[in-house]
Amino acid sequence: MLKYIIKRLLLSVPLVLGIVTATFFIARLAPGDPMDMYLEPQRQRQVDPEVIELMRKRYGLDQPIHVQYVTWIKNVARGDFGESFRHRRPVRDIVAEAVPYTLQLTILALLLDALFGISLGIISAVKQYTKLDKTLTVGSLIVYAIPGFWLALMLIMLFSVNLGWFPTSQTRSMNYEDLTMIGKFLDRLWHLALPVFVLGIAGAAGTARYMRNRLLEVLNEEYIVAARARGFRERTVIVKHALRNALIPIVTIYGMSLPFLLGGATIIETIFAWPGMGRLTVAAVGGRDYPIIMATTTIAALLTVLGNLLADVTYAAVDPRVSYDAPRKR
């Protein structure tokens, strides 16, 4: 297994390098100029072209693109993602500020996804072809089909603007600092409620469909028939025999959620002004903030590769039939 992991990690190096190289050139070849931020009329003054040229030089944007690329690779190898054009601070610090917010959002969303998705999938499978199953099937398909941004805006209009039950956005109330520890915890949950729901519910709908189908497949396996024939209670058959096997591919799906955990949800974070990685990336793309675009892409690429590896390893760990070790010679 260790050999397999090392081999996969080595193979992932050119993959990640390919992704970040493609991103680097696409971002720089796309129309637009990061120095445009000096041309906004709302800056109340116009910046002289010489200043813009100085800034261009400072950030190395006056260099040929291949020189910029080599410089960037060298710096990243040293763990330096550079300085944001817009924030004028090290990218490392900006990313470090965004990651905790994204983790709060994505971990809770994944928990919601797992809790509702798996539960509803099981109920749907066990109650196959009943009214409940049909309702859950149609409901999950509808939820799955609703665009997240639309659902988010509708929930904001209903629960925030009209009913005032939840905040429209942000991470904390104005008086957050004055709250007790429990108050702060609840305040954060209150602010997380809508974005987590929007993110989690769409995932749950997908998971429920997957879980239902997988469980139904397993329930038709011969060993389940055998378990029933041996007189086990239906509950025991489902929970102890069928469910454990049906969950194996689900585990791998969650293993592949690693990029989502740290990469964040771009649209939802933007709508809810949640200061995580997703919103950071959207703002960086809009502002041609290349250092941040490259940092977030690199992180996402690394996590995607690691997530896939984790999923494969987890699969082997939970399913004894899967082995990545070389077969023994007889």
């Binding site: 129309p31 637009g32 100029d33 445009d36 931020m37 000096y38 041309l39 009329p41 709302q42 800056r43 109340q44 003054r45 116009q46 910046v47 002289d48 072209p49 010489e50 200043v51 813009i52 100085l54 800034m55 400072r58 300085e83 817009r86 924030h87 004028r88 601070r89 090290p90 500020e97 917010y101 904001i156 209009m157 925030s160 603007v161 005032g164 039950w165 939840f166 905040p167 429209t168 956005s169 942000q170 991470t171 904390r172 104005m174 008086n175 600092e177 004055d178 709250l179 429990i182 108050g183 609840l186 305040d187 949950l189 209150w190 933007t270 709508i271 002004a273 200061p275 703002a283 809009g286």
Partner: protein, 519 residues
């Protein structure tokens, strides 16, 4: 330990905990009382964080500029008590207000101003380069010399929006790391508000400075929140005002009686939003066509359609700052679709096949206008207007940067962008758009001469004459169609008092002048 015990006890405990949390949640689902009676104004600022705030006009909350504007638009001293300038306006002697202190109690002196200008000239920062140098005469007197010739900037005393930093705290710092200084974690200012806290990506909090030279501001606490969907936060009552409201915000909020729109019209009178016609394109080479396209758009009505300030002038030409404030404006072409149709007929563009679009020599009078999303409304309005005279203008919405890049590289038929009505300031400047090598394809040697003359004087009598002649030429040549001035919009709840158009529109800049009247 909590999970151990009799069978089922763990389940019961967990269930109790869950129920308790669910019961507590509604407590969190209330707007919790502040616990004090301080008045608070929350302003939504577009963007993702403090970087954008501090790179823009944000520092004016806690740092004083040299001068500010009264609500009637006259210049009044802030850090500067009084000032004099040489006839050519290049050298200004400034007497600082005595008794102004940094928030740590140290007096503000002319040395702080000089320190800041020198600091800004460092290559790593490269700002304030139009200030040539500062000479300190004594602790409260300095001479500031300007290198650039900028009619609009000079009208308001250059530096009206520039702030100065405390030398005693920062003189040992490395200028190369300016934006990474620890100072930015908790800046010490000298303005009406003191920095309290910063939550990355979320908000900044300020408190009224009781030692402010004009007295403690009426609003005790100012919170700047960073976000994008301003109107939802305003509708939900979570913020009191939106800075730099988007056209989307304006459309949603314009007719809501709870809110007021304010327009900031002073420095930005230099930003004239226009449709630029690419004169290299044969479609636009006949001045009669350009004039017809201008006559076909009702620019007065466009202001209503875009919820603009009704008193914004419609002009065809250029205007100096003094002419603007003296209301000596170049007249606008009238809205006259009949005359537009006649001019197009005269130029040989006729709708022979009855498809609603004019043709000439087999070519349809059809083209594409580039615009960014903020100007979509204006583009669609112009599209509808031109349709009535048989012109098909397709609208292509693009990202800001792409629009500018295509404007700079002359890669467009028509484009909605702003003209910054003074020379030497980048892709939007007068020389870039109408000068010798203009990206719009416009060439007029007299305009080039006038722009050169504009760059050589700060005598406002001469400047006014230049702008008057430029206006005459522009009215004759019609290289672009003026739409409106590119002014910023602010939206505030009606309980926020003290804001006004055109000089006191920005709730962040003007927080010290505002108060709240609860309803």
């Amino acid at each position: 330990m909590i999970w151990k015990g009799a069978p089922g006890a763990g389940h019961r405990t967990r269930r109790r905990l869950l129920i308790s949390l669910l019961l507590l949640l509604p407590v969190g689902c209330q707007q919790l009382p502040d616990g004090d009676d301080r008045t608070t104004m929350v302003v939504l600022y577009p963007g993702t964080g403090v970087g954008a705030f501090l790179n823009g006009s944000g520092p004016l909350v806690f740092l004083l500029p040299l001068v500010g504007l009264t609500d009637s638009g006259t210049l009044e001293g802030r850090l500067a008590q009084r000032w004099e300038h040489t006839p050519d306006r290049r050298s200004w002697t400034i007497w600082l207000r005595s008794g102004v202190r940094w928030h740590d109690g140290v007096p503000v002196t002319a040395h702080d101003v000089k320190f800041t200008v020198d600091l800004m000239h460092h290559p790593a920062i490269a700002d304030l380069n139009y200030i040539e140098d500062v000479t300190v005469l004594d602790d409260t007197t300095l001479v500031m010399r300007f290198s650039g010739v900028r009619p609009f900037a000079s009208w308001w005393l250059p530096g009206a929006w520039n702030v100065f930093y405390p030398k005693h705290l920062l003189e040992d710092e490395d200028p190369a790391g300016f934006y990474r200084w620890e100072y930015w974690e908790h800046p010490v200012g000298n303005g009406a508000y003191r920095w309290v806290s910063h939550q990355p990506g979320t908000q900044l909090q300020f408190e009224a400075n009781p030692d402010y030279y004009r007295g403690k501001p009426a609003i005790d606490r100012l919170i700047i929140r960073f976000g994008s969907l301003g109107f939802t936060e305003l509708l939900a009552g979570e913020v009191d005002a939106i800075n730099f409201a988007s056209s989307n915000d304006v459309q949603v909020l314009a007719d809501d009686p709870r809110f007021r729109l304010y327009r900031e019209v002073w420095d930005d009178i230099a930003a004239l939003q226009c449709i630029f016609w690419n004169l290299s394109n044969p479609l636009f080479q006949d001045v009669r066509v350009r004039r017809a396209l201008t006559l076909a758009i009702d620019r007065e009505d466009l202001k209503n359609a875009m919820f603009m300030w009704p008193r914004l002038p419609v002009i065809d030409g250029l205007v100096s700052p003094r002419q603007y404030w003296n209301e000596e404006l170049p007249p606008a072409f009238p809205f006259d679709p009949s005359e537009a149709a006649r001019l197009l007929d005269e130029a040989g563009w006729r709708d022979e096949d009855g498809d609603g679009v004019r043709e000439k020599d087999g070519q349809r009078l059809e083209f594409t206008v580039l615009a960014n999303a903020e100007w979509e409304g204006a583009a669609v309005y112009a599209n509808q207007s031109l349709r009535t005279v048989g012109v098909r203008m397709n609208v292509l919405l693009l990202d800001n940067s792409v629009v500018r890049e295509r404007l700079a590289s002359s890669d467009f038929d028509a484009v909605i962008e702003y003209l910054w009505a003074e020379p030497g300031s980048g892709v939007h400047s007068l020389d870039a758009l109408l000068g010798e090598e203009s990206s719009t394809g416009y060439r007029n040697p007299r305009v080039v001469e006038l722009i050169d003359q504009l760059q050589a004087t700060l005598d406002f009598d001469v400047i006014d004459q230049i702008y008057a002649e430029l206006s005459e030429i522009i009215r004759a040549d019609v290289p672009m169609t003026y739409l409106t001035m590119n002014v910023e919009t602010y939206v505030a709840h009606r309980r926020i008092k003290g804001l006004s158009t055109p000089f006191r529109a920005n709730p962040v800049w003007n927080a010290e002048h505002l108060w709240i009247e609860e309803e």
